[in-house]
Point group: C2
Chain length 195, copies 2
Amino acid sequence: MSSENIDTRTRILKSSLELLEASQGRGVRMTDIAKRAGITRQALYLHFATRAELLIATTHYLDQIKGSDARLEPSRTAQSGIARLDAYIEAWSEYIPEIYPIGKALMAMKDTDAAADKAWDDRMQAMREGCAAAILALERDGNLSPDHSAEDAIDILWTMLSVRNWEQFTLECGWSREKYGKTLKSLARRVFVAG
Amino acid sequence: MSSENIDTRTRILKSSLELLEASQGRGVRMTDIAKRAGITRQALYLHFATRAELLIATTHYLDQIKGSDARLEPSRTAQSGIARLDAYIEAWSEYIPEIYPIGKALMAMKDTDAAADKAWDDRMQAMREGCAAAILALERDGNLSPDHSAEDAIDILWTMLSVRNWEQFTLECGWSREKYGKTLKSLARRVFVAG
DNA sequence: TTTCAACTTGACACCGTGTCAATTGACATG
DNA sequence: CATGTCAATTGACACGGTGTCAAGTTGAAA
């Protein structure tokens, strides 16, 4: 096994991520992660104080190995507000499936664990920045529909692009990634672009 | 106390509902419900086999006392597809805040309890019928935007009106009930009505 | 050869759900 | 009055999952 001399902490994060991905974030216990990392459950606590902390560390690990969060950036280079909106939705639709499993696990703890709640909220707040940037660019171009204030438009885009919505479209309605991306882009144009 | 000779089952349901409403569906335990109903936790199980079953019964109790579900009907009498869409969104925006607390509790069990999962899914499937009726009426009028097939439009409306979205708009974005209703109606027109 | 850190073993606490057996108290019926 | 029934009580326990603790092992570095 190539993974034998990897440092333990990393092996834990890798195991955590693999299990979460395999189960779409549902039903992954500390025991399972420990087993897969080749250590005891108790040893997990030598590296992470709580399950929430481990889950949060797993998101950072994911970002680090996939550079996922960086991929949300390129939309900033787009010229027009419309292009920026499109680019952002495209990037986001690639990104969601990757964080979904770990996001799901974190969301499941929202109600009982303040740390998990905050960690996920922070992520969603960061994603809101991207929505705001797109809407503001649209406004600057004079292309924002007069139906909504910029603030409202941001709320709407942010909600349209929520992970819960992605979950419903893909998992419940059976939409493909392509259909999701294509439809949300068209929806966003229709809702936010004037005329 | 006027509630003393009410039949126990009803007293339990009443307590369950009150506690769920008071806490917005979060952290209500069997013990709490029993205490409020004036019986022991164990006695709860003489009336309901599981927590999920009690929660589900609570939704029926809520429908019964508030006649909430019936209020989703009047949109059927509306003339045009557009009026129907409006009426449905209006009724729904009145309805959501009422079922939200118990819905929240049910949703929290989705991942671990199959019965709760199914019960909530059934509700959402019923609500989808309303969405379908509105979209189909719009299509019959020749007013459905050519951007979407009827099926896609139903998926989209259904997701737009999801409880999770309502939660985000009102709880996270701080929208009032009126703003929610008004904005969703305007959004729906813009997205679904041709021209 | 000692020392230290990482890890193991095994036990235990806490919470919330669900279960069970034995008991109590009220009420109805013969 | 005795008997039975029914709803509820008391007290105990199981289970699953998280988190904790004390004592022991192992391997590598100093």
